[in-house]
Structure formats: structure tokens, C-alpha cells
Amino acid sequence: MAENRYSIWSLLRNAWSFHENWQAAWRSPAPASEYDAVIVGGGGHGLAAAYYLAKEFAIRRIAVLERGWIGGGNSGRNTQVVRSNYYYPESARLYEDSLRRYETMGRDLGFNVMLRQSGHVRLIHDAHDLEAARNAANAALLSGIAAEFIGNDELQRMVPCLNLSPTCRFPVQGALVQRRGGIARHDAVVWAYARAADMAGVDIIQQCEVTGILRDGNGVCGVETTQGTIRARRVGISVAGNSGVLAGLAGFHLPIESSALQAMVTEPLKPLFDSVVSSGRIHVYVSQSDRGELVIGAGTDMHPSYAQRGDFAVTRETIRALTELFPIFSRLRLMRQWSGTVDITPDRSPLLGACPLPGVVLNCGWGTGGFKAIPTAGFLLAHHLAVGSPHELAAPFNLSRFSEGRLIDESAAAGVAH
């Protein structure tokens, strides 16, 4: 596979030959009739799981089944934010592991995912915000994750266009910063894992929708798909937004509601600021892509939805919040608005591990924050599928926490969708 390695040299060599010798980034094989493990869902999570299964757990025959095109769900619809400053220690450990994997992902997978660690800035608007931010910062610090308060002077340097007037409706009084937070190019993460998984022998099968889950006395024994029956004793479900549908096929209900989460971009602009700026108080966050668009994130719509389209009322609230924080953006123009379908759990924490059907392992419930968890979520799903039991990072997020009443309620701590 050395020929297929990406570098400045391969680029020069291929430029010389008019780019006619590039290899496919991944193959498009026909599905085999049986695999050792099948991952349903070809998003970042599913592809990462397949990669780690092959790479770190030496499972041989692996397929990723994707209903449409890989990365076409939430992997390609999010706002690209990575960070690990979560409140509960179990969450912080998980997202910190993920952020570390992001930090080396480009080199590990040989594919530049354009990680920009220019800081995740959480704005503080009043005393209550400050107390909540201090609580979160201390939680992070005690979990070994850096968190830093900055005053308005430094904030002005980091985000020059932010309105810091003390007389506005929600005046800004400093911010809590995770310097290692930032953004990565979402599609690139999908492609990087797809390519690496393919090189490790994984079959990535697109246009292959799972229409049934087969079981026998021992649990799951395969899946019915639009490309025929595929047998497997280990099935990972990693289909954010559609987790409820897959659970329905497997014959159980999940503590999940599917909802539309929208995001939007403006027309491209010259660089304005580097960080991700978020306000939990007025519910908006924004970063600027490498291409120059402002990438704006909103909250979820008010009703359940699988439609991948957003309500204008939410778009409007989000833009109002944005122009309140950045009045000079008022003359800029909204270029595109889209939505993804997200899994919302009652405690806004993911749902990982075993389910009522033996052999099926869940990776779902990531809500509005799944992108930043891609590498670790993939690893944990791979671990559970290969080993048969959850990794210690995943264990707290099992399904039985709901019947035990042991919720990991990040909603109060996060405040804003992310």
C-alpha cells in the first residue's frame, strides 16, 4: 500500500503524471454473504469502528453497510467542533481520549483532517454563567484537562469582532477557554477513516440499507439488506438519527428521540477569528471555516423529526443571537442552511454497549456532539464487538443506567448544543 501513501512527494509525482495514477481512496466491493462483524452505518463512527476492529483487534472479515453514501448523515452535517471540556468525569475522560486521537489523526491515518486547535471559547454573560463556568472549569481541571478563564481584553484579541459593550442585552464578561478545542474538517475525518479501513481490508458497502435484523436462539445472526442477506454474529449499530429505526428492526425501544439540529454558513469571508465561540445563554455558536464561511450552530427544533430540514423559526432565533454577539455581521449573508437528525437521550449523554438482542452492540445517543467523539466512539464500539464486553470508558454509558436511575446529565452542564 506504500504507493498509496499521501505526501508532498506523492502529490508531486502525480502532478507530473497529470493525476492519472491516483488510487481509489476506498474500494466499492459487492458484499460477501458472511462477515465476522458488520457495522451498520457508514458515518465517521462506523468507519472508525471498522478501522479499529481490523487494526487493533485483528478481526478479519468486516463490512460497513451504508444506506446512502458514506459520511452523508451527521458526519457531513455537523459544525466540526472538537473539545473535551465536559462536566462529568466519565464524559470528560471519554471526550479527552477522543481529542487526543484527533490530535494525531492526520498522521495516524495519513490523511490531513485539517484540525485547527485554536480554542473553544465559552462566553460568560453574568454571575450565574460565571459560577457555572467555574464549576465546569474546576471539573475539567480536576479531570486533568486544561481550562482557562480569560478577561474581555484577551477575548477582544482572540475574537476582535465580538461585541464587548457593557450596555448590550447580554453583556460579555470574559470567557472560559479550552485552548486545545477547535475544529476539524468533517468530510476529511470520514474519508480518512474510510481509506484507512479499506486499506486494512474492510469492505465499505454503500447504497446498502439494512431492512431487517436476523436472529436465532443465540442472538443476532445477520442482517437483511437491500443488497441481500449478510450473515454475522457481531453487529454494531452506529446510525445516529436513525437509531430508533434500527432498534425497531431489532425489536426493542430506546430512550432516544430523533430531532432536527440545524447549522448554517454565511458567504466566505477573509479570516476574522480563529476560535469556536459559543454562548450557552443565548444559544448560538460560531467558527470560521478554512474556506472563510462563518459556520453557525443552532439548537434542536421543537418537534421530533427525521426530515433533515430545519424550521425557519430556529434559524431566525440563531441569527438573532449571532447578530447580538456580533452586530457587525448584520450585513453579511446567509448562504446555506441544513439539518441533521440527531439522537437525543434523556440525559444528553451517549448510549453505548449491549442491548436486549445478544450480539448487537449500540453506539448511539450522541445527540448534538457526536462529531467530536468519532475516534473514541469507533474504538469503543470495536472493543465491545471484539472483546464482547464494554471498555471501561464506555461502561458508564450503558443502557441499564436508565433503569437504575444513574443518569449522566450533561444537559445542565453543557447548556448549548455543540
Partner: protein, 979 residues
């Protein structure tokens, strides 16, 4: 520079009103009625912008909002606006426009050197390199090169408005089809709205005298119907569920800059026309190459020509239609390159002497900042097999690659757009429910077809709204758009010349080669190709390039386009100003503060306001010379030693009435509410069904079947809605009514040892004797001759009377209180001092001292729950293992010794170690002037069993020693209350 490309006559411009403007520092002139684009062309400005990636010189391609090249910045200071298309800017006197992303100018741009290394920059090049040492080393430079316009540097000096509109028939597009539809619909008496993004009625099609007359008659008929609202300069940007639409109106003249219309229609007639596609061939991005229809529009509407010697390149009949006009304008048509081997009858209409090169394709275009000539060669099925080519010299090239129905809005509304081989276009085979697609958006090619389809859709739309007309709209099957067409998606070469660049997406510099590389690397799904190459993702939203990109990809991968779905089209159809989306509820109207009924009185007494749950409330009151902390301490001590008045008007108040009111409340509160006697008061805690505390407050029993529930101020609305939900959805069989009265009653708490005397001094008919009116009871009566409700409840730990009265009397009542006749003037107490007083007493504040996991067991309500009979919300959850087990965070006090400093709220508790796992968090903290020491409350794991245990308070590396202690800090027996 004179307007040397302006015809001496013709056009719909006002030659009596010359306008001066500048572009990239050049002083130029135009006429009223021009757009910036037409005026630039008139002045012979060919290079109007640069492409995004290679900084290629670019000229105007189109005449409408689909223009992909001419991005400019206009205006100054608070009106500086980036990323405007020259085609959508009406020319005005003194207009100052600058090209974007160019240095130093559009005509000469140093970054065009990037074009020299284009082979090193294939799609995805940044994914393949820049990994060592890290992307962050390269990214700043790449970001600086990327981007288009500059963001404004000053606050917008314009303002924006919004309006809602309901109508029967919404007609989008005021060309012949839309106009016919609107006239027909309005004629039936239905409320009709006609919208067009252009500045007038009539659409973009050519106007001869006959058409102009028809448009005039129809416009008059529309006006005389009195049923049609016509909005020009208005673009429908979004189509949502329930036939909801957003439209942005550019307001000409003074007043707001733009208006956002929220429209809801019963029927929709989409007459949005069609957009001409460019042709893809080598060097097709040279300035001087323009869509044939755009050139015609510039000529007929603005009397501007592209050049003196032009060549037409086409793959369909439509480009032939404007040829007569060229000669009239004095333009020499050098030749027509028709890619079709047999152009059919259209070619027969060519004037004598014009060369027709059928079955040929362009293979090169000469020139750098303009066109100097074109080379063409014969092809077989799109493939050029010969090395020889023929040259024609020309200074402009007009291209037509066929027409795409403009179905963006239909797709937004959920219509599937499938590729139709016959018309070589994406069509909506099934329009959305309640929609009628007409005119060239529906494949109509002649004026008559447009008029016919429009009129019948107008009638059918009206009929669907219940208007009694006989109408039937038979949507004709998709017809060949514009004219017979044979697509050529790009020019293939049988030899090594395939790398001549052929542009598909102009702005983002996506070429056929890029799409070929994407396909080779298996980014072969159209969505992958789009994301890998960025084709169609530029601010022109793929209006010109997207369908060609589909075609090129299909040709390269050998797939048929038949039945292909178009990549998702997302709102908005045209970019929308953020300001107009935000509307007028910005600045002080953004989440406007709620004000207390006696706000003015507080203000006059130097209240320092802060926001609490949306209300603007006094944080404290400043006397001269005091610091904030001194003021707060003064207020606290006044409450402990004298008398204070606190405005608690936002306190949530819900009256609960009915035979089953007690039963209802019993199911909602942890505490027993049926055993509460009339005129008695009880504190209660509410849970959600997961057993988590969600609100607290006192409940007053006013009569046997009449309770008054107090909720915390911040949750007044939430709790009312929750109770209403429970009443309607869960216990609909109970006889109970809920009436939210928070805003009807103002509430003032009079508290402190002198409270009773103060009220007596004001004059009251209520017996205030502690025996007659003890703590936790309620009375109604007169105070200062005002009818009031008085509750003896206390948030301070002192004797307190909470007096509620009609909100409209709050102002006078507070005035009376503050100039009490007895000479004993109460101190005004703000929220901050109240926080200190309640912390001293260990009264919890829901949301601060509880979080999303705190159960009543965690705040010491075990006994109350054990005694309570029957179910209540959340009770079952309290019996789960996790609610009962050890390790839960429980509310306790922190004894900080004689420390003079307070610990910060949000600090964590770390057991004995100096940096260990967190076992809790400080939830309230203050300096207690009463106790003369620092106190705090905290949620700590197993806190109730840790009494006396020493712990460490930890915040950002600083530590404080503390000991867990019981609450409250002050007066545990309640001696100060029960006086």
C-alpha cells in the same frame, strides 16, 4: 472612460439621468436603470473579479443573481457590504465598488501566480499534504488566501423589518406565466400575491412591442382587480412546510433596507423561469465569454453590447433567437459553433454570411483578460480526435449549454428533481401538494405556452382555495426545455490534451480534470464529488455549474443521468442578509427585559439593576459613598436588626381551584397538601417524574377548594405550563382549574424585627398579633386602605409579611411604605442581600443549590417522604437503586472557620487530598455580616454522613480548608421567626 459599449439608442435605461460611480478606483459613468454589471460592461470593463483558488481573471457570465464571477464590495463604513453580485446592485450616483479577493486589483492580481502551480493543487491536495509537522503551520497562510470579501468593520447603519402575510394564491415569478397566473387568480376574487426578484413585471424574456403591450394590459388588469399584492425587488428565498415561505424585499429609497416577508399561501404557482447553463470547453472562463441569454438581456434592456465581433457557441436552438438583434446593434456575428452535427431548422434562420460550424466544439480561447479568438475542431460524440483546429478572431463569445428549470424552491418544499433525458434537465415530475409549476420552469418554450399554463394554474390555484371557479390544471409532461438540444457536457480529447482546463464551477475553480480525479479516487457519488471538489458549494450555490457537474461526472463514470436525483438544494435560494433574518427585535428589543410594576420607584432609590430570569430587578441599592459589598451588608443587617422591604413581584403565582385541587397538589408535591388547613401555608418541593427537584415554594390554602401555589420567579411560566400539562394530559379526571396570576399580583415582603410595627403604622384591619397571625398562616384585609393578601412566610429567617396586591397599585403602595408615617422608614432590600440572608438560614435556591440530579432525599426530606401516603410525581424514581445508594451528592453547610474571605461558587470539594477526585461543589457562598464569618453551602457526596469531617475547597488550584456542617448557620430553632 466613455461608455464605448453602450448603444446609441434602445434599452430601458434613463439616459437623461447619468450617474457617476467608481470601480477599483476607476471613475466611470452609467445611467439610471443600469445595474453595476451593465454599467461596467458599457464602460468596457471586462475583468470584474478573480476566482477563489487560482485568482483567474473573470468577467461577467450572467445578468441575474446566478452570476458566479462578479463579486464586489460596495459602500463605506456602516454600509460597507461584501460579496455582492454586480448583477444585483442597482446603479446609484456615487456608488463605490471594489473587486474582492484581489491584490492589488481585479485587472492585475499578484495571486494569479497560483495559477502557475495549479497542477500541484488538485482537489483534496490539502488532505494529502501539510501533515508534517502539523497542519497549523500552513493553515494561517491558506486561510488568508481563501475567503472572498472582507467583513464590515462598523455597525450596520441600516435597519430591517419583517411582516407576515397570508394569501390564497402565491405566484412566484412575474414573467408571462406568473403574470397570467396572477391575473387569472385575482380575477376570481382570491387574495393573490405576485412576487418577483427583478425590479419590475415582465420577466427576463425579450420585449418586443407586442409583448410590452400585453404586459401593460395585464399589469393594469391586475391592478384593477384590487385583489393582488405585487412585490417586486423581492426574492422568495425559502419554501417551508405548510406552504410557508420567506421572501426578502429590497426596499428602494429611504426607510428600512430590507423587509422579510413570512408568507403562508393556500396555493402556490411557481413561475420562476429557467436558467441558462454555460458550456464546458477549454478556457471557457475567459472574460468576454457570456451566456447568450445574458448578452441578449444586456443588449435589450441596458443597450450594452459585449463586443463588436462575437462568436456563438451552442448545443441547442435557443441561442439562435437573439441573432437578429445582434445585427441591429451593429455587432458582427463572426460565426456560430453548434456542437450538434445537425443543428436542424434553427440553423436555417442564420443571416447570410454568418458561418455555421456544426458538429464542432471549441478547443481553445485566446486572450488573457479578454477574448481575442476561438479555436474549434470537429468532434465525434464529444471527443476531438484531430489535432488540427480552426481559428476565428472575435472579442466576445456567447455560449448556451441548454436551460435548467429554476426549481430550487420546489425542491426545498420536498419535490424530487429527477433528470429527464429528453429535456436534458432536472424536472419535478410530481410538484409538491398545492403547487403548480408553470412557464419555462415547467418546460414551456413559447410565450403562448407560458400564458396558457399560467392562466390555468391561476384558476386552479384559486379553485383549490375554495373559490368557486371551474378550473383544471393539467400539468403538461416535461417538454424539451427551450429548444432541441444535444448535450455535450465537456470536450474530450483523444490525445494528451485532456488536461486543458475546462471550468465547471467558476468561482471555486472546479474543472473537468478535478471531477475526473475525484471519480478516479472513488469520490464518485455526486455528493462526494461535490464535497471533494467543492463544485456547487460557492456563494452562487451552483446555479450555473451544478447541473454541468452532474453531467460531467456521469460522462466520466459512464453512468446514465436518467433518473439521477439532484444534490440536495437547501435554503436560501439566494443568500439572505443576516440583519433581515434577525429583524427588528435586536438591540434593546432582543429578549426585552421585563420590568417590575414599581420599577420607577426602585430606580429613584438608586437601585442597581441586574437581570434575574428575564426580569430587571434591583441587585442592591446604593447609598452615597458605599461600595457594592458595603451596600449589600447594610441591607442584610437592616433585615436582621430593623426592617426591610423586598420587591418579590416576579414570584410565580398560580391559583388552583376545584373540588380536587388538594388531590391534584398532593400528586405534584413531595409534601402533603390535603392536610393543609384553610389559611395555613406549607413549603413544598416539586419533582419531575425522574425524581429530580424542579421547583419549590409555598402553598397557601385560601379556601377548601382554592389554593395559591407559589413557584420560584425564574420558573413561574415553566411550572405553570407543567401543571397545566399534568392536569390536561395525566389527570384529566380531576376537577381542578389552574389560573396563572403572577403578573396580576405585585408582592412586597416586609421583613425584620420591625416588620409588624411598620405594617401597623401603615394602618391595617388585620390582627397582626403573633398568636392571631402566626408564622405560616395567611390573612386577607386592608393595609393602608388597599385590599391585600398577607402571607407570613419568610425567605430571610426573620418575621416576614409577604403582602400581595393588584399590580396596578404596586407603585403607590411602595411609595407609601417608603414614607411611612411612623417615621420608621424600611430599608430597601435587593436580591444580593436576600441571597446572603437565605444562605445564612440554609434555605436552598432551586437551580443553584440543586442540579439536574438532586433528589429530595439529597436535601434531607427523607422523613417527609416516609410519612407521605400515596403516589406523587417522582416518587417511584426515588425507590430505584441509584436514588438510594451511597455516593449521592447531598446538600450541606461548609464551616470555613474564621476565614475573612469567601470561597467561590463553583469551587469543588476534594476530600482531604489537595488534588483528588472531586466529591462535590460549592453551590452558594457569601460573607455573613450577622455571623461575622464566611459561610457556604455545597453538594457533597454522602454529605449528610460527613458532619464535622474536614474537606478542602478547590478552585483553579487555590485551596481553602473547611469542615462539613449542618444547616442552617443561623437560628436553627427558628426563634427569630416565631415571634
Amino acid at each position: 472612460m466613455s461608455q464605448k459599449f453602450r448603444l446609441v439608442k434602445g434599452g430601458r435605461i434613463d439616459r437623461s439621468r447619468p450617474l457617476r460611480f467608481s470601480f477599483d478606483g476607476m471613475q466611470l459613468s452609467g445611467f439610471a436603470g443600469d445595474t453595476l454589471a451593465s454599467a461596467l460592461l458599457a464602460n468596457g470593463v471586462r475583468v470584474v473579479g478573480r476566482s477563489f483558488k487560482y485568482h483567474r481573471p473573470r468577467g461577467l457570465l450572467a445578468a441575474g443573481p446566478e452570476e458566479p464571477n462578479a463579486f464586489v464590495e460596495v459602500g463605506h463604513a456602516g454600509r460597507r457590504t461584501p460579496n455582492q453580485r454586480a448583477t444585483e446592485i442597482p446603479l446609484s450616483d456615487g456608488l463605490c465598488a471594489r473587486s474582492e479577493n484581489t491584490w492589488p486589483s481585479a485587472r492585475f492580481d499578484l495571486l494569479s501566480l497560483l495559477g502557475g502551480i495549479h497542477r500541484l493543487l488538485p482537489p483534496g491536495f490539502y488532505h494529502k499534504t501539510f501533515k508534517w509537522p502539523a497542519w497549523s503551520w500552513y493553515e494561517p497562510l491558506i486561510r488568508r488566501i481563501a475567503g472572498i470579501g472582507r467583513a464590515p468593520s462598523a455597525i450596520d447603519s441600516d435597519w430591517y423589518v419583517q411582516r407576515h402575510l397570508h394569501c390564497d394564491v402565491l405566484v412566484i415569478g412575474a414573467g408571462p406565466a406568473g403574470l397570467s397566473a396572477a391575473v387569472a387568480a385575482a380575477g376570481t376574487g382570491s387574495d393573490t400575491v405576485l412576487i418577483d426578484e427583478r425590479d419590475g413585471i415582465g420577466g427576463s424574456q425579450p420585449w418586443d412591442a407586442g409583448v410590452a403591450g400585453w404586459i401593460k394590459i395585464m399589469t393594469e388588469r391586475l391592478a384593477s382587480s384590487g385583489r393582488c399584492l405585487t412585490l417586486t425587488n423581492t426574492c422568495v428565498t425559502g419554501a417551508y412546510e405548510g406552504q410557508g415561505f420567506t421572501a426578502v424585499e429590497n426596499i428602494i429609497g429611504d426607510g428600512p433596507r430590507q423587509r422579510l416577508w413570512h408568507i403562508r399561501a393556500k396555493s402556490v404557482v411557481l413561475a420562476s423561469g429557467a436558467l441558462e447553463r454555460p458550456l464546458v470547453f477549454p478556457d471557457n472562463d475567459r472574460p468576454g465569454i457570456m451566456l447568450a441569454s445574458a448578452a441578449r438581456e444586456y443588449r435589450e434592456r441596458y443597450a450594452v453590447i459585449m463586443g463588436r465581433r462575437v462568436v456563438i457557441v451552442t448545443n441547442n436552438d435557443s441561442a439562435y433567437a437573439g441573432i437578429d438583434g445582434l445585427a441591429e446593434a451593429g455587432v458582427t456575428l463572426v460565426g456560430v459553433i453548434d456542437t450538434r452535427p445537425d443543428p436542424g431548422p434553427a440553423a436555417g434562420t442564420l443571416p447570410y454570411g454568418v458561418r455555421l460550424m456544426s458538429g464542432s466544439v471549441p478547443v481553445a480561447v485566446g486572450g488573457l483578460n479578454g477574448c481575442s479568438g476561438i479555436r474549434f475542431a470537429p468532434h465525434v460524440d464529444g471527443c476531438v480526435t484531430t489535432r488540427s483546429s480552426t481559428h476565428l478572431s472575435c472579442d466576445a463569445i456567447l455560449i448556451s449549454g441548454g436551460w435548467s428549470p429554476n426549481l430550487h424552491l420546489a425542491a426545498q418544499a420536498g419535490a424530487a428533481l429527477d433528470f429527464d433525458l429528453a429535456s436534458v434537465a432536472f424536472v419535478a415530475r410530481t410538484p409538491p401538494q398545492g403547487w403548480y409549476i408553470v412557464g419555462s420552469a415547467n418546460g414551456a418554450t413559447t410565450l403562448e405556452q407560458c400564458q396558457e399554463q399560467g392562466a390555468s394554474a391561476g384558476l386552479a390555484g384559486a379553485a383549490a382555495c375554495g373559490i368557486n371557479v371551474h378550473a383544471q390544471f393539467a400539468s403538461p409532461p416535461p417538454q424539451p426545455t427551450a429548444a432541441p438540444i444535444a448535450p455535450i457536457w465537456f470536450v474530450e480529447f483523444s490525445d494528451g490534451r485532456r488536461h486543458r482546463r475546462q471550468w465547471v464551477d467558476y468561482l471555486y475553480d472546479v474543472t473537468v480534470t478535478d471531477i475526473r480525479i475525484a471519480a478516479r479516487e472513488n469520490y464518485a457519488h455526486v455528493e462526494h464529488m461535490k464535497r471533494y471538489t467543492a463544485a456547487g458549494m460557492a456563494p452562487d450555490q451552483g446555479k450555473t455549474g451544478q447541473i454541468n457537474a452532474h453531467g460531467v461526472l456521469a460522462s466520466i463514470t459512464g453512468r446514465s443521468l436518467d433518473g439521477t436525483r439532484i444534490t440536495t438544494l437547501r435554503p436560501p435560494y439566494r443568500p439572505m442578509t443576516l440583519g433581515v433574518i434577525a429583524g427588528y427585535e435586536t438591540g434593546s428589543l432582543y429578549h426585552a427585559y421585563r420590568l417590575l410594576p414599581a420599577h420607577e420607584v426602585h430606580r429613584r432609590h438608586d437601585a442597581q439593576f441586574d437581570e434575574y430570569g428575564g426580569w430587571q430587578r434591583p441587585a442592591f441599592y446604593r447609598c452615597s459613598g458605599e461600595s457594592d459589598a458595603e451596600a449589600i451588608m447594610r441591607e442584610v443587617l437592616a433585615a436582621r436588626n430593623e426592617v426591610v422591604v423586598f420587591d418579590g413581584s416576579p414570584l410565580g403565582k398560580i391559583e388552583v381551584v376545584g373540588r380536587d385541587a388538594g388531590t391534584f397538589l398532593n400528586r405534584i408535591y413531595v409534601n402533603n397538601m390535603t392536610t393543609l388547613a384553610v389559611d395555613k401555608i406549607r413549603y413544598g418541593v416539586m419533582l419531575d417524574d425522574n425524581g429530580t427537584i424542579c421547583d419549590d415554594g409555598v402553598v397557601i390554602r385560601l379556601a377548601d377548594t382554592h389554593y395559591l401555589v407559589n413557584s420560584t420567579s425564574a420558573r413561574a411560566t415553566t411550572t405553570y405550563r407543567r401543571l397545566e400539562m399534568l392536569k390536561q394530559c395525566v389527570w384529566g379526571d380531576l376537577d381542578v382549574r389552574l389560573i396563572p396570576v403572577t403578573e396580576q399580583w405585585a408582592t412586597f415582603a416586609i421583613s425584620g424585627p420591625g416588620a409588624r410595627a411598620l405594617i401597623r403604622a401603615m394602618g391595617t384591619d388585620i390582627d397582626l398579633d403573633p398568636a392571631a397571625f402566626p408564622h405560616m398562616t395567611h390573612r386577607e384585609g386592608l393595609v393602608a386602605d388597599i385590599q391585600v393578601r398577607v402571607a407570613r412566610v419568610s425567605f430571610t429567617g426573620e418575621v416576614s409579611y409577604e403582602i400581595s396586591l393588584r399590580s396596578s397599585l404596586a407603585y403607590d403602595f411602595l411609595e407609601l411604605l417608603l414614607r411611612s408615617k411612623s417615621g420608621r422608614v424600611p430599608t430597601l432590600l435587593g436580591i444580593e442581600a436576600l441571597g446572603v440572608l437565605r444562605t445564612e438560614k440554609g434555605y436552598l435556591h432551586v437551580g443553584s443549590d440543586t442540579d439536574g440530579a438532586t433528589s429530595p432525599l439529597d436535601i434531607g426530606m427523607v422523613g417527609i417522604i416516609a410519612k407521605k401516603k400515596g403516589d406523587f410525581l417522582g416518587r417511584r424514581s426515588l425507590e430505584r437503586r441509584h436514588s438510594q445508594q451511597s455516593g449521592r451528592r447531598q446538600l450541606v453547610g461548609l464551616d470555613l472557620g474564621a476565614m475573612r474571605k469567601t470561597v467561590p461558587v463553583g469551587a469543588h470539594i476534594v476530600g482531604d487530598g489537595l488534588k483528588g477526585p472531586s466529591i462535590g461543589v460549592v453551590t452558594s457562598s457569601c460573607w455573613s455580616p450577622t455571623l461575622n464569618r464566611s459561610i457556604a453551602m455545597a453538594l457533597i457526596e454522602d454529605g449528610h454522613t460527613r458532619n464535622g469531617q474536614s474537606v478542602t475547597v478547590w478552585s483553579e488550584g487555590r485551596t481553602w480548608p473547611a469542615a462539613v456542617c449542618l444547616l442552617p448557620f443561623l437560628d436553627p430553632a427558628g426563634a427569630r421567626l416565631n415571634v
